[in-house]
């Protein structure tokens, strides 16, 4: 063992995280190298002293300050548009739908790379791989097929993600329409124009998907990106940022 090895291993050694053989070699080196011995002893002394630093008590005013800030934040919440509150509630679910879709796309892409004939080489049993999505659906998928392939599973996740996005867009549109009275006529016109554009492009994507026999994951990926853009737009609109 050389001095530069000691430099690399010293922290693990003093924390007891180094295996026995290397610890022994390192100790052997320390017996014959004064500078390394001092360096390791200093590091251990620093570690010991730092670990014994006294805990720091916060001042009594900290809790009062936290309570005040929480109260202020709750009052602000009460003044926010209803849509903002709704958005905060659904955002984690939307994120999950996006993640599930991304995972499904990744699986499908993997399959496309490894198979390509419409059948993966060896179907994988997924009996014990119930997804969180399934759990969220309240166990409705208890009779999940035991020989479901990667592709079937990916397609199921994609369909579910698609439905989740559509349901949330529909709900957002309904909520946005309730805020419409607060908008100027220019804002309402701009909103309608943008929504019509979203409808047109979405329809194009869906038609392309229906005719796309290859099932290439990129096509659906673009559709999901479009859904996310519409959701972002609807939320901005509801927050007066048209």
């Amino acid at each position: 063992m050389r001095c530069r090895d000691v430099v690399r291993l010293a922290s693990d050694y003093i924390d007891g995280d180094l295996d026995d053989r290397r610890s022994s070699a390192l100790r052997g080196h320390l017996r014959t190298c004064g500078s390394c011995e001092r360096a390791v002893a200093d590091a251990a002394r620093i570690r010991d002293a730092v670990s014994e630093l006294a805990p720091l008590d916060p001042p009594p005013s900290l809790w009062a300050g936290i309570e005040q800030q929480l109260a202020r934040a709750e009052i602000e919440d009460a003044r926010r548009p209803r849509l903002w509150l709704w958005w905060q509630a659904v955002r984690p679910h939307l994120l999950y739908a996006g993640l599930a879709a991304a995972a499904a796309v990744a699986i499908a892409a993997w399959w496309a790379d490894h198979g390509g004939d419409g059948r993966p080489a060896s179907p994988v049993r997924v009996t014990d791989q119930r997804t969180e999505l399934d759990a969220e659906r309240g166990g409705a998928e208890d009779s999940e097929p035991v020989d479901e392939s990667h592709v079937e599973r990916a397609m199921r996740e994609l369909r579910h993600a698609d439905a989740t996005y559509l349901a949330q867009i529909a709900e957002l549109r309904a909520l946005a329409s309730q805020e419409r009275d607060l908008w100027s006529s220019e804002q309402a016109t701009a909103f309608d124009k943008r929504i019509a554009e979203f409808d047109r492009v979405t329809l194009e994507h869906r038609k392309r998907l229906a005719h796309d026999e290859s099932g290439h994951p990129g096509t659906r990926d673009r559709l999901f990106a479009l859904y996310q853009a519409e959701i972002a737009f609807l939320v901005d609109a509801a927050l007066g940022e048209l």
Partner: protein, 211 residues
């Protein structure tokens, strides 16, 4: 000389008891989380008392004492406002530490000039009982404040709070190897900063006889 040197007493490494005793997880965190989600004030206060020292100590040692109360307050507000989104993928303690480290590091980034010197140290709450030489303690705190913020974070998490490298890596969003190398560099920098101030404890150093 070789014969004398090889008969030197090898330096034995003992982990301090305080490092072994601490754990990031508390058994009944689940009930506390549920009650906090329902907005129960007593539960929120209980959570505060459970984590106040860990959060305040971590934040103080990263941002310095002048801004520590402001940042600790921000951390707890984020905890309560965000606990409904806590999915339990990690331990509650890990999640709280992550919020605290992120808030402290972004505060340091926003305001890079932290308070330093004796004035800042004097405002660090006095310890209930000083387990080590108070002079050394002050020198350590001063040296800590001079470390780069990233080194400070890993040193405080690992050496002060006694977390494992796996926990540090999860909190800091890095690999275990990175946590280890950062800690190693932090300790080396501490050694440079302390220099002669690192009072040697001759008890564990045996010089070769007759040299």
């Amino acid at each position: 000389l070789d014969i004398v040197a090889t008969t030197k007493k090898p330096m034995t490494i003992v982990r301090p008891a305080s490092r072994r005793a601490r754990s990031i997880e508390d058994e009944d965190d689940g009930e506390l989380i549920d009650a906090c989600r329902r907005g129960e004030r007593r539960a929120m206060e209980a959570l505060y008392h459970r984590y106040k020292r860990r959060v305040f100590g971590l934040v103080t040692r990263i941002v310095g004492s002048s801004d520590s109360e402001e940042v600790a307050q921000e951390v707890f507000v984020r905890i309560y406002r965000g606990i409904s989104r806590f999915r339990g993928d990690s331990a509650l303690g890990t999640w709280i530490y992550r919020l605290a480290v992120n808030a402290a590091l972004s505060h340091v980034t926003r305001r890079p000039r932290i308070a330093d010197g004796e004035e800042a140290l004097s405002r660090v709450a006095a310890p209930e009982a000083a387990p080590i030489d108070p002079g050394l303690s002050a020198r350590l705190e001063r040296a800590l404040l001079q470390l780069p913020a990233g080194y400070r974070a890993v040193l405080v998490l690992h050496d002060v709070n006694g977390l494992s490298h796996e926990e540090c890596a999860e909190i800091l969003g890095c690999r275990v190897g990175t946590s280890k190398s950062q800690l190693h560099k932090a300790r080396a920098r501490m050694r440079d900063l302390l220099g002669p101030d690192l009072a040697p404890d001759d008890a564990d150093r045996v010089e070769p006889e007759g040299v």
